[in-house]
């Protein structure tokens, strides 16, 4: 494989303290806008060769639990010919720079994350960096030994001349760079990439970098960060979505020792991106505990605002009412819905999906020192660009004058793509004239999230006599906080998209959509559309298979048909492949012993889905007690995310993904009553604990293509529909509304 350098690209070498620093700037990513949202990113990760021949990779984006700080150094070590154990990772500062030709670029790579794009976007540039560095080291050694460069290769941090047995450490070559500078890499220079068949690190099990720090308590998360002289802040936010502060009595709170400031914080007038800021009252104190204690003594009257009286239960009723009429036509092939009436057997099912909170283990927090024309930020990062841009707008300072350190991030699942915690901390810091660490409590987090939105779906399908599907109609109703001139296709991406499966697999196909505006904020939640759409479509397919008296696996394979690329003009597109989809289904089924006999009150369900470029199928086994207590006894997962970089990390994401899906399907929902969230903490928002986790979670990896795709979001979507069909097999009860809760007890 060859790659031709971008015209503007060159490598920068510099020596610092005996170490060789290699920076790569600037290379534009082709699709960078999809992950960074606001900016096109330029690459500039750096690689450092230390005098002791160990290596440091500067990681552009933060570790949020998806293994990025392990897979990126794997790519470097592989291409460079280094021992993976000698590569350590350093999180680069998060920084935007002004581009000479106008606009901005990242100082170090694409420094965002999210949308399962992080690895995919850093993959090629990091490989380039390593390949070019390897060539330069080889050329330097060739000159030293007066042998042709073609006779040399690299391994274990050395350049090796195999025929003479000579070896030269990278660090020894690097130290000579001071006397004789390396040649500048010319724009049209080609590099040979290592042949994938020679990979010795990529594709092999690698332990996560930094695990030792996590298990000894040394790992620093965002909430552990500090700025010199900082004060501590907590904020009482309006519990009513889009509510405001009517009056505050803070006399008792001010009397708490250590309390410095109590401030009513109005949402900033500047227009923010993706970041609704709740109105509230901030307490700033010498210690976090003093601030928390004082906050309890605040007496605040709230103006409930436009969300007053809204409830999720009433919303479902409103959805049912509005769905009696056809919605906006979203997709239509053949005769669409009209074909239902001329068909034999028509199946109709309604599905309902609740609001969900992100509830990351590390609560929201941000530490900011906002000065008149600059700011320092310490935070658990995810969409770092969003934080920088929104802080810049809220504080009225240049985005390039913000210096951010991203520490380890205790989960995001989409929550930290919103920058409200950073904007609040910035505004509070500005008002009190000191650095401030703002910490949200769990109640703050659950009560002021941007939730996965509530939706309702009516599905119709016509079955042919031989068990095929001749018509498919899907009416989707979604409620979001988008109001005014709503961009319907864009908003509907939360739950359904025009190219969604099984479009073009059924001749007569139609999707119509309704949107309801309400005050509850909404945002992406670990695979935003797929977690909703997979439940609806894959559950319905299981019901159709039952109606047709067909095997759910065979029914799916027939629907997918022959292997071909189907158009998919959204995240993970431009196409998906029916053969790769079928392959994960077959793999999961085979490994699970699909078709084997089950005992009474046991059930086995299957589902598969395409999420952001990757394919995943799960088979769930359950047992039901006489009183319909459900125990999941095994989950078998098959995933295809293209090139398998780290099987260990891939397996971890599949395991976590299905257990997140199970936890969510069992008990998770947020109810809104009178315009506020009912569930406020883990006593009512009941995440699964280990007792509910099956003793066996089997993962099987397929490399269905050579390009790399995300693994973090793919296993959650198919879990719930597979689980619910397994429950149906075991109990005869259909779950059409999530969470399962106590529906089986009725």
């Amino acid at each position: 494989m060859n790659a031709i350098f971008d015209r503007r690209r060159f490598l920068q070498f510099s020596l610092a303290g005996g170490a060789l620093l290699i920076a790569d700037a600037p290379l534009r990513y082709a699709r960078a806008s999809e992950s960074s949202g606001e900016f096109l990113g330029d690459i500039g990760p750096y690689l450092k060769i230390n005098p002791d021949n160990t290596l440091v990779l500067g990681a552009p984006s933060p570790e949020i639990g998806s293994g990025m700080h392990t897979s990126l150094p794997m790519l470097i070590a592989e291409e460079l010919g280094a021992d993976f154990a000698t590569v350590s990772v350093k999180q680069m500062p998060i920084k935007l720079l002004t581009r000479p030709e106008g606009g901005y670029r990242w100082a170090y790579g694409v420094q965002g994350g999210g949308g399962s794009f992080t690895l995919r976007q850093n993959w090629q540039p990091v490989r380039h960096l390593a390949a070019v560095t390897r060539n330069i080291l080889i050329n330097a050694a060739a000159e030293e030994w007066s042998v042709p460069a073609g006779e040399l290769h690299t391994e274990e941090n050395h350049v090796v001349h195999a025929s003479s047995g000579r070896r030269l450490a990278f660090s020894a070559i690097a130290s000579r760079a001071a006397a004789k500078p390396f040649p500048e890499v010319t724009p049209d220079q080609e590099v040979d990439f290592k042949d994938p068949s020679d990979y010795s690190i990529i594709g092999k099990w690698q332990r996560s970098k930094g695990v030792e720090d996590v298990v000894t308590g040394k790992a620093m998360f965002g909430i552990d960060g500090e700025l010199p002289g900082m004060l501590h802040a907590v904020m009482s936010r309006s519990p009513y979505f889009k509510g405001s502060v009517a009056s505050v009595d803070d006399a008792a709170a001010r009397a708490v020792p250590g309390v410095r400031h109590i401030i009513t914080l109005d949402p900033p007038s500047a227009e923010l991106s993706n970041s609704y800021i709740a109105a509230g009252v901030a307490v700033v104190a010498d210690s976090l505990w003093a601030a928390m204690k004082a906050r309890r003594l605040l007496e605040i009257e709230w103006d409930k605002g436009e969300g007053a009286g809204e409830s999720s239960e009433a919303l479902f009723e409103q959805m049912a009412e509005i769905q009696k009429e056809p919605g906006l036509e979203f997709a239509k092939d053949g005769e669409g819905r009209a074909a239902l009436s001329s068909s034999g057997k028509v199946v109709e099912v309604t599905y309902e999906l609740p609001l969900l909170a992100h509830a990351t283990m590390e609560p929201m927090n941000c530490t900011v020192h906002a000065r008149a024309d600059s700011a320092d930020v310490v935070a658990p990062g995810h969409s770092c660009g969003g934080m920088l841009v929104n802080l810049s707008r809220a504080l009225g300072i240049e985005v390039t004058s913000i210096n951010m350190i991203s520490l380890r991030t205790g989960g995001s699942f989409g929550r930290r793509l919103r920058a409200d915690m950073a904007v609040e901390a910035g505004l509070i810091s500005r008002k009190v004239g000191a650095p401030v660490k703002l910490v949200w409590t769990r109640e703050d987090d659950m009560g002021a999230d941007w939730y996965r939105p509530q939706s309702r779906h009516i599905l119709h399908a016509a079955l042919t006599d031989d068990g095929g599907v001749s018509a498919w109609a899907h009416s989707a109703c979604l409620a979001t906080s988008a109001s005014g001139d709503v961009d319907i296709p864009d908003v509907m991406r939360n739950t359904v998209w025009v190219d969604n499966y099984p479009r073009r697999l059924v001749d007569n196909f139609e999707v119509d959509v309704h949107h309801i505006s309400w005050a509850t904020p909404n945002g992406p939640w670990r695979a935003p559309m797929p977690t909703q759409h997979a439940f609806v479509v894959e559950s319905f397919i299981n019901e159709l298979a039952a109606e047709a008296k067909a095997d759910p696996l065979e029914f799916r394979l027939r629907l997918l048909g022959e292997t071909r690329d189907m158009p998919y003009d959204d995240h993970g597109g431009p196409t998906y492949n029916t053969g790769r989809w079928a392959a994960v289904l077959k793999k999961a089924a085979n490994e699970a012993g699909w078709g084997g006999r089950l005992r009474r009150r046991q059930g086995r369900g299957i589902a598969g889905y395409f999420t952001f470029g990757s394919y995943c199928a799960v088979v769930v086994d359950v047992e039901a007690s006489r009183s319909n207590d459900i125990r999941v006894t095994r989950i078998v997962v098959a995933g295809d995310a293209g090139l398998i970089v780290n099987p260990n990390g891939f397996k971890a994401q599949l395991e976590g993904g299905v257990l997140d899906g199970l936890s969510t399907a069992l008990r998770l929902k947020v109810d809104v009553e009178d315009g506020r969230a009912v569930q406020q903490n883990f006593d009512t928002y009941q995440f699964m604990r280990i007792a509910d986790a099956p003793p066996v979670v089997e993962t099987h990896l397929i490399q269905g293509a050579d390009e790399v795709h995300g693994t973090g979001e793919i296993a959650t979507p198919p879990l719930a529909p597979a689980l619910c069909d397994a429950i149906y097999q075991a109990t005869g009860k259909r779950i059409r509304k999530l969470p399962i809760g106590d529906q089986l007890k009725a």
Binding site: G210, V214, W289, K293, E362, G411, N681, I690
Partner: protein, 155 residues
């Protein structure tokens, strides 16, 4: 004034007696490995050992720990020798985001101190910490492995 030990070191505290032990550990003692997750003893991210028993430090008022010996994740290893649970967690590569894992390990260490061969049922009944990333499959394997390491060391 309240006196107690943290990881073997004697500590004196004379501030607000209501303050949960969690905030003393994190903010006063600078031991940030103990994490804040919920504040109502639900998630276990703040689990520490109090006289050898696992407690959720977010609901333990500091006044109540007078005379107690407290061990946090930073003090779990015996010098350079990691606790069997820490070693098993590395072997099984359990953490994803990692935020809850100190609490999971502290809960496991306490379980192993009174049961050196826990069954799956023992694990279900005793390890009730929340992991949002869903690492439970590996946690279960790591608890069994930790028990094995502990038994090997003691035999």
């Amino acid at each position: 004034m309240v006196q107690f030990t943290v990881n073997g070191k004697t500590m004196n505290y004379d501030g607000d007696a209501d303050m949960p032990l969690l905030w003393y550990l994190r903010e006063d003692a600078g031991l940030k490995g103990t994490k804040f997750g919920c504040g109502i003893a639900q998630c276990g991210a703040c689990t520490v050992h109090l006289n050898g028993q696992a407690f959720r430090s977010c609901v333990v008022p500091i006044a109540s720990v007078a005379g107690a010996d407290i061990v946090t994740i930073e003090g779990l290893a015996d010098g350079e020798n990691l606790h069997p649970a820490q070693e098993a967690w590395i072997e099984e590569d359990v953490p994803q985001c990692g935020y809850c894992q100190a609490g999971q390990i502290m809960a496991t260490a306490e379980l192993l101190s009174r049961n050196d061969n826990p069954s799956d049922e023992d694990i279900d009944a005793n390890i009730t910490n929340i992991c949002r990333c869903g690492t439970y499959y590996r946690i279960r394997k790591a608890v069994h492995r930790a028990a094995e390491i502990k038994r090997d060391r003691e035999s």
